[in-house]
């Protein structure tokens, strides 16, 4: 079971696709039930992985390895470590809820829609579990196709513009990455695509070569994150995508970018990474502030949330550049947080869209009166998005800023202003949508959430508070993997902040005898 579990997990949605294929086109309820059941079982399977995951082990677990195209040394190799564990669970979690949230929202061509969602899930899971670079690239590209259809077919009025933009941006990055992958493959002797072995090879490359490779990989990932200034595809894609598409896009697809940095860019090209740290930090900070500023003046709630993603993803990138435990773990946790909070926000917006067929802020006002339950969910999620303590956002952002402050105080201070701006745009939007007098007749007769809608949102709320109150559940399994990553990278980086850290302060020792002066202060 243990060696095949990741394969089962990854390809289970394909089984769902086959089952749906066999179902009649008009049999909507059957299609929905199959999709729901498959994604739910997938989620349960990912929990099984969590419970059997050995947090003390820093390397890959549940590894399964067979030759695939042995002539080129391509393998089907999957495995999971502390870094990808939570992303896999996040994917199955959101995948399940995304199917659920489409229960009544999608009526047109439901079969194709569910098939797209399921194939997408296989693609995403594949990306996170691949231990072979070629396999990774295949999944990476597979992911693009269902997303293309989801936006292009079930999207809003400007769906064609949005999908083409999305595909062009992503393809540009992926192609450069493919060139870099092939370069590494041939340079290393053309025998293997194994990520672990190629990593061992790449770190020996001269810095100038590393820089080019880092740039090629980095661009692909930076577009996916998206980092400023490559972010402009995101608002269009989000605004046009159907609810489930937005949830998956924001929740999981953006994490591919940051995951790529963690898995490839940073460990493979550590010296190049060191050179790029200032540039990445600056872009991250610009992204934080810029995204927040643009979010503030958006008229469409969805595009506000999209720009807020740009801002939040900036935090995650900033944490990665800190290259210490607080920053890195904070970033990984924040990936999870962003997936949960932004995913929930998109669902909440989707629910009002289903009722009012508009997302324009100006169309609302005073909705708290007609939809108190929906509004309460909205407020909780918005507060978690602006990082209020006891919600998930706080833990992530606080760790990231703590970590960053240790190596680059100025960036941390600038990043912290993003926290103020987040409060500005979120609360302003909340005020305009929920509070005030109910003026529009259409808003007076809105029906509050149905039972199944509440059930979809409750898991998000549980996660928001769980991570906020007891984040150890999530931090502990990733600890050793992150330690190993930082250890590996700092071996090659001349100026290591980790070592300096030990000298920078003398830890307080409670058993030390109290000095005179100190006794004075206490009494």
């Amino acid at each position: 079971m243990d060696s095949s579990i990741l394969t089962i997990l990854t390809f289970l949605p394909i089984l769902g696709v086959i089952l749906i294929w066999l179902t009649g086109k008009e049999n909507h309820s059957m299609i929905k039930i199959i999709a729901w059941a498959v994604t739910f079982i997938d989620f349960v399977l990912s929990l099984y992985i969590y419970f059997n995951f050995d947090a003390a082990e820093s390397g890959f677990q549940f590894v399964y390895n067979v030759p695939w195209i042995s002539h080129f040394g391509i393998q089907y190799a999957v495995g999971i470590d502390g870094i990808s564990l939570w992303l896999v669970i996040l994917t199955t979690f959101l995948g399940w809820l995304a199917v659920w949230s489409s229960w009544t929202a999608v009526k047109d061509r439901l079969k194709g829609y569910m098939v797209s969602l399921l194939i997408l899930q296989t693609g995403m899971l594949g990306v996170f579990v691949s231990m072979d670079l070629f396999l990774f690239y295949v999944f990476w590209e597979v992911m693009l196709i269902p997303m293309y259809f989801l936006i292009g077919i079930w999207g809003g009025p400007r769906k064609i513009y949005a999908t083409i933009k999305f595909v062009l941006f992503t393809m540009l990055g992926s192609l450069l990455m493919l060139v870099a992958i092939l370069f590494i493959y041939f340079k290393s002797g053309g025998t293997t695509f194994s990520i672990l072995e190629l990593t061992r090879f790449c770190v020996t490359l001269p810095v100038s070569t590393q820089m080019w490779l880092f740039a090629a990989f980095g661009l692909a990932f930076a577009i996916k994150v998206p980092m400023f200034p490559f972010h402009t595809w995101l608002p269009d894609a989000h605004v046009q995508a159907p609810t489930a598409g937005s949830v998956i896009l924001a929740g999981v697809l953006l994490k591919m970018g940051t995951y790529g940095f963690l898995r490839f860019c940073i460990p493979m090209f550590p010296q190049a990474f060191e050179q790029f740290i200032p540039a990445i930090s600056v872009l991250a900070v610009i992204g934080i502030i810029y995204g927040a500023l643009v979010a503030m003046v958006q008229k469409d709630v969805k595009s506000l949330v999209a720009f807020s993603s740009v801002s939040h993803m900036g935090f995650i990138m900033l944490g990665l550049t800190a290259l210490n435990m607080q920053g890195m773990q904070g970033s990984i946790l924040q990936m999870l947080n962003h997936g949960i909070s932004t995913g929930a926000l998109f669902m909440i917006v989707g629910m009002i869209y289903e009722r009012r067929h508009t997302r324009m802020i100006a169309e609302f006002g005073g909705v708290f009166k007609s939809m108190p339950i929906w509004s309460t969910f909205f407020i909780i999620v918005a507060l978690s998005s602006i990082g209020l303590p006891f919600t998930n956002g706080f833990v992530g952002e606080f760790l990231i800023l703590t970590g960053t402050f240790g190596v680059a105080p100025v960036y941390a201070i600038l990043g912290a202003t993003g926290v103020i701006l987040a409060a500005c745009y979120m609360l302003w939007m909340i005020k305009r949508v929920l509070f005030g007098e109910l003026t529009k007749d259409e808003n007076k007769n809105l029906t509050d959430l149905k039972l199944f809608e509440k059930l979809v949102l409750v898991p998000f709320i549980i996660m928001i508070f769980w991570i906020g109150i007891y984040p150890s559940t999530f931090l502990n399994p990733m600890k050793t993997s992150v330690e190993k990553l930082i250890g590996d990278v700092t071996k090659y980086v001349k100026h290591t902040d980790i070592e300096n850290e030990a000298e920078a302060f003398i830890p307080y020792n409670p058993h030390e005898p109290q000095t005179e002066e100190h006794a004075d202060v206490r009494h």
Partner: protein, 630 residues
């Protein structure tokens, strides 16, 4: 008994969850009982813990209770743990006991409100957060409570959400305080990376060992923490949110914007006093901020006509006194004034709330008048509160605490005559605006008819708080009155004694006489201008200079205007200009260039044979030319 400590914040949190989830379906009496009862139980436990703490103090004069490690990453290990010592005990008692009285009052005050259970949910969440703030053993947990009370303040200011003005006030409060909070968060990062811990006791110990007096780090940390404190405690330059926060229901103003939350800044500085002792410049800044704020807010209070705005400015001003005390190193004097202020200011806000409720939600005190006869209980309790605020000598609590601050402002090592002067001028203004409020509201001709008298659940808290506002000061008597000072003695296990010259009792007496004369003159001034000869005040307000100054004071010294003009305005302008996201323009241009090329090349494919033939010939010529000439 100490082991029950965690219950004190946990019970209000629990009740919040119940009310938030099931409140809608509960009968009002049950939500009321739950909302008020939970804080009541917390108060009882607090008092029992307090009694035990005083009768048999724990080892080292503190008690620590660890629940779990919050987020453990590397050596960053903030815990969910509570630290009980004299300082946090005092805060805990005030929060729960005064909090309970205000909850009891709210039960009647909010009875007919449609958001009854929502109100108590928020109030309980507030009490829980505030207790977390004061009991936290590390700064991250303190920060959690700090943001939590900010959230409740936001929710409760905007409680009557249908009026979008209230929503705006709520948002303003949250964002302005968050500016301060962010400064504080940066201070926390700085502390962590230099001392390797955020445990408050460890910070205090290692700071005093590792940092020298006057070190730059201590100064930076001190100023950043001060940034957080001025935001939350509505001091210069972040005081602008508090007057607007009066949009919330009166019990909210009493609990959050008078008695507890706004004094969190005072608590923070007292709690981390070691850092301020190490950074004399930061400490001086605290004193200057306090002195400047108490004057500016005092003058603003003189011209308000909304009774709650008078009290709001007065709160800002009184917290200014506390900052002044902190700034001269008189920490226990600051905490003493915090305590008495919690009693009398909560009383005044509750009294004002009772007035407003009985007078059809009228806030303008110039439309009230003569309420002394109609609402006698409210009048007498309000009068006691006003007396305490104006520091009427000997019989009120405010006298003892304010007198101590004034005395220390001059005689402490870091004090100065200028600080004392600011305090004494402030005392005069306080007396004037307080009794202006009393005379205008309760004396003269009645301009309105009260529709009913407050019931028992409103009257009882008023009476209890009035008693506390009278006797609360007797725990700390000056040397001239026998120096019975159990309060500061109790506080000395946490807060250091004031360093200052030991002057003779006669000098102290002289200072007290000056203060008393100033207060009485202030009351007399108010009596003449607003009762005996109101035309005097009117004439003054009508003169050109007088009306300009009046408007200036009324607007709170133009801070709002300034911030809007120079910060909010430009900011929004930049955001508006960039609404379309200028970066996208670059990509649009790229796409356009492609389309232009597409257009140009499309022209070549026109289907005409002659054109193609000409093209081939032209191309051939060029190729031949290239071959020949290279």
């Amino acid at each position: 008994m100490f082991n029950l400590l965690w219950l004190v914040p946990a019970i209000p949190y629990f009740s919040f969850v119940i009310l938030a989830v099931f409140g809608k379906r509960m009968p009002r009496s049950l939500s009321g009982l739950l909302g008020v009862g939970s804080v009541g139980i917390s108060a009882v436990i607090s008092v029992l813990i307090g009694i035990q703490f005083m009768s048999s103090p724990p080892a080292g004069d503190f008690f620590m209770q660890k629940l779990w490690t919050w987020m453990g990453v590397g050596n960053f290990q903030p815990e969910i743990a509570f630290h009980l010592d004299a300082l946090s005990l005092l805060m805990m008692l005030v929060v729960t006991v005064v909090g309970f009285l205000i909850h009891l009052y709210s039960w009647e005050f909010m009875e007919d409100d449609e958001g009854f259970s929502r109100f108590f949910a928020y109030m309980n969440l507030f009490v829980g957060s505030m207790l977390t703030l004061v009991l936290a053993n590390n700064l991250v947990l303190l920060y959690l409570g700090w943001e939590g009370v900010g959230l409740c303040s936001y929710l409760l200011i905007g409680f009557w959400y249908k009026d979008s003005e209230n929503g705006a006030a709520a948002r303003k409060a949250f964002i302005v305080t968050r500016v301060g909070d962010t400064a504080m968060a940066i201070g926390l990062f700085l502390l962590f990376w230099n001392l390797g811990t955020l445990d408050i006791q460890e910070i205090l110990n290692s700071a005093s060992m590792q940092w020298e007096t006057g070190s730059g780090l201590a100064l930076a940390v001190g100023l950043l923490l001060l940034g957080g404190a001025v935001g939350k405690s509505a001091q210069l330059p972040l005081q602008v949110w508090l007057p607007d926060a009066m949009a919330g229901p009166s019990p909210v103003s009493a609990l959050i914007h008078a008695a507890t939350m706004v004094t969190a800044g005072v608590y923070l500085i007292a709690r981390t006093h070691v850092i301020f002792d190490l950074a004399p410049i930061a400490q001086t800044v605290v004193a200057i901020v306090g002195a400047a704020t108490l004057l500016i807010a005092g003058f603003s209070a003189l011209k308000q006509h909304d009774i709650k705005r008078v009290l709001a400015y007065s709160t800002i001003s009184q917290i200014g006194y506390m900052f002044l005390a902190l700034g001269v190193g008189a920490y226990s004097a600051a905490m003493f004034h915090f305590m008495t202020h919690a009693f009398f200011k909560a009383l005044l806000f509750l009294g004002a709330g009772a007035l407003i409720m009985c007078l059809h939600h009228e806030h303008n005190m110039f439309k009230m008048g003569g309420m002394r006869k109609q609402l006698p209980l409210t009048f007498w309790t309000f009068l006691i509160g006003s007396g305490a605020l104006a520091a009427v000598p000997l019989i009120t609590a405010g006298f003892y605490s304010k007198d101590l601050i004034l005395w220390r402002a001059w005689t402490s090592d870091s004090g100065s005559p200028i600080l004392w002067l600011a305090g004494i001028v402030g005392a005069f203004i306080t007396a004037v605006y307080t009794f202006r409020m009393v005379f205008v509201t309760f004396f003269g001709k009645a301009k309105m008819q009260a529709n009913h008298r407050p019931g028992a659940r409103i009257s009882l808290p008023l009476v209890v708080l009035a008693v506390l506002a009278l006797i609360g000061g007797f725990v700390e008597m000056p040397h001239t009155l026998g120096h019975f000072a159990p309060f500061s003695k109790f506080m000395h296990s946490v807060l250091p004694e004031v360093h200052g010259a030991h002057l003779s009792i006669s000098i102290e007496l002289l200072f007290q006489i000056i203060a008393v004369v100033i207060t009485l003159t202030g009351i007399l001034t108010a009596y003449i201008f607003y009762y005996r000869k109101p035309e005097l005040a009117e004439n003054m307000a009508k003169s050109g200079f007088g009306s300009a100054l009046g408007r200036f004071f009324y607007s709170g010294w133009g801070f709002d205007w300034f911030y809007y003009k120079f910060i909010v305005g430009p900011f929004v302008w930049i955001a508006r200009v960039n609404k379309k996201d200028i970066i996208d323009f670059i990509y649009t241009i790229m796409a356009m260039i492609c389309q232009i090329f597409n257009f140009v090349f499309r022209q070549t494919q026109n289907g005409r044979i002659r054109f193609y033939a000409a093209g081939i010939a032209f191309g051939a010529v060029i190729i031949v030319a290239i071959v020949m000439f290279t």
